[in-house]
Symmetry: C2
């Protein structure tokens, strides 16, 4: 997508292409990030760019654990944290550690398309289940998908692409479900929470504490979105302090981090984020973009669930064929992603981590394409 967008921009001029296709945050990192980065670069002394334990610097993991304890309302220690190359690295490390060949990972759709690759990388199989019409968890669908091969449920909240945040009530129910089914199958069922958008929420909605909802849980996350530094590949994983096989899991993940070739999360960025716990971009800026986009598209006649978090909108396509609809938008030089790429045909994803002007200027195009199809439909 990155390359495709670049080609269109080269042909038509960047200012004439409305690129909503990428989850590349357009906000600059907070000023504090840049200050810390320069400080850390200047201060780097003996051995500071060398290897450290595969799990990361002890002092960095300590800082992360302290912040995470407050966020989760559960006391997490440095031993339960492993620094990783972003959330994508964390997920690969977790899956490498827990999956046996043929193991199934259940994820509610719509979902981040890379999950399928991540499970496949490590001999697993991704099984998708539907969500309710407002993209909240359908627990019956999850229960129906559990088999003796199920190893984990993987959730992403705030969700890419829907922006939905799963409620504490539904997560507690999911925890009970996994406890019960695990007991029935005599098998630990893990809950993996991929939450890089945790700090980007709107209207006072908060992402519940996963560690409080289910003991056999682990978190994969990154600083990519809340510090606007996705190219730097810095994140972490954490295992619930109450997980039954905590020590084995963490030992397996430390090994996986090494043998998958990450070895360790980048040293300099580890030292930077140590001083940036709790620092985040201003989520109200994304909220304004969401409102601008939602108000505009609503007026045109698009149907969607207003997102509470992340920077994605996932409207219905007015025709069944979402790929054809996205192509029609492309004719207007509006770049989006078909819902079938997220296991949800009949929808399309608009990433609104773009300039306000891009949103404003694209609205007429969105309207023309929608009207074009309405016209066809009534013929």
């Amino acid at each position: 997508m990155f390359e495709q967008g670049a080609q269109l921009k080269a042909r038509h001029g960047a200012e004439n292409v409305f690129d909503f296709s990428l989850g590349n945050p357009n906000l600059e990192p907070p000023d504090r990030f840049k200050e810390v980065l320069v400080d850390v670069a200047k201060a780097s002394g003996s051995g500071d760019h060398g290897y450290m334990p595969n799990t990361g610097y002890a002092s960095v993991r300590q800082a992360v654990a302290e912040f995470l304890s407050g966020e989760q309302g559960v006391s997490v220690t440095a031993d339960e944290v492993i620094m990783t190359c972003g959330a994508a690295g964390a997920l690969n490390v977790i899956l490498r550690a827990i999956l046996d060949p043929g193991d199934e990972v259940i994820t509610p759709a719509p979902y981040f398309v890379e999950y399928g690759f991540y499970a496949d990388n490590h001999g697993g199989v991704l099984k998708t289940v539907s969500t309710k019409s407002d993209f909240t968890l359908d627990l019956q669908a999850i229960q129906a998908a559990i088999t003796p091969r199920t190893k984990a449920v993987l959730i992403n909240s705030p969700n890419n692409p829907s922006g939905q945040i799963y409620s504490e009530g539904s997560l507690l129910q999911l925890g009970s479900l996994l406890t019960g089914e695990g007991r029935r199958l005599n098998r630990t069922l893990y809950l993996i929470s991929d939450e890089p958008y945790r700090k980007i929420t709107f209207d006072g909605v908060k992402v519940p504490s996963m560690f409080s909802c289910y003991a056999e849980s682990m978190i994969a996350t990154s600083y990519s979105k809340d510090l606007s530094i996705p190219g730097e590949r810095i994140g972490f994983l954490a295992v619930n302090p109450q997980a039954t096989y905590k020590e084995d899991l963490l030992a397996g993940m430390a090994l996986a981090n090494r043998i998958l070739g990450y070895v360790n999360a980048p040293a300099l960025m580890q030292r930077a984020i140590q001083s940036l716990q709790g620092v985040s971009v201003d989520a109200t800026i994304y909220k304004k973009k969401r409102d601008l986009l939602c108000d505009g598209l609503s007026e045109c006649g698009y149907e969607f669930v207003k997102p509470n978090g992340a920077f994605y909108l996932f409207p219905k396509t007015p025709i069944r064929d979402d790929v054809a609809f996205v192509k029609a938008l492309q004719e207007e030089l509006i770049l989006t992603v078909p819902g079938s790429g997220f296991g949800a045909p009949g929808y399309f994803r608009i990433a609104f981590c773009v300039d306000d002007d891009t949103i404003r200027q694209a609205l007429p195009g969105f309207e023309r394409v929608l009207n074009g199809f309405d016209h066809h439909n009534t013929m």
Copy 2:
């Protein structure tokens, strides 16, 4: 090993432990690295910490390709280079792209123990073959190991743990062998050259150009050793411009880089190394350490092949059981690694990327342990 060493140092005092167990370069990065790093951190502007194409910044790949062209004596373009999270990342990306389940990868022993994990990560099987007594390539052994499942030969020169550099003559012969066997099996046999120690060579010995020796070849490398920045995870892979399936290979590797969760090599370090092509630590400092160690151990009576590159010495153990010998050294607070960890029992690895004083002060201990076993042997 990192953790074990740390524990011993905590117990006995760091100054009393002689840690030769880790390939963590003790030389500081060149001054120029630190200057560039601070400059890059200060100069970071709009989008500089964001996503870029999964293969890396075009300008960085261009700079790498130009330097590599000179080094290999073969014209390499930016399109043939992918920036990676170190050489370990590069190897995982290459193997993910080329291996089908059950495919075999042949590597000459002694070898870097992680290779077995890397092949296994992607459904492959590592097959080791012996080298000659001086650790040079045994082409007959390689030929004998080739089967219809063979996909690649993986070499590491300068070698970890032996420090051996394979000659141009032997690589040309290896190329001919792989061409012939590939034709016989109707199958492309790849040569993967893992060469992070390329710039650390002694006595005027140079590492031959892999791209000149065999068309179906690829390079995995990093800046970890020549800039002393292994914790930063920055390296690259390059595919021979003459490789038959070059475009498919590069497309597969770009995808593998993404789906393995690396996504891209760390942005800031990419921009730093763009300005550091050809900059390297002073290899003559490692040469002095080699000489200090080799002279000292030779006087004690240890037997070894003097290494031409890297910063490892791989002597014979005076008893067959290399693990027992390494444990005996540990009693003297000398930390090394048994050869069986490199597929070569009866040897042990000494990483001499340490202070000169560590080498000097450890020599009496090395001598006592050797003499202790000589005494036993004659009883």
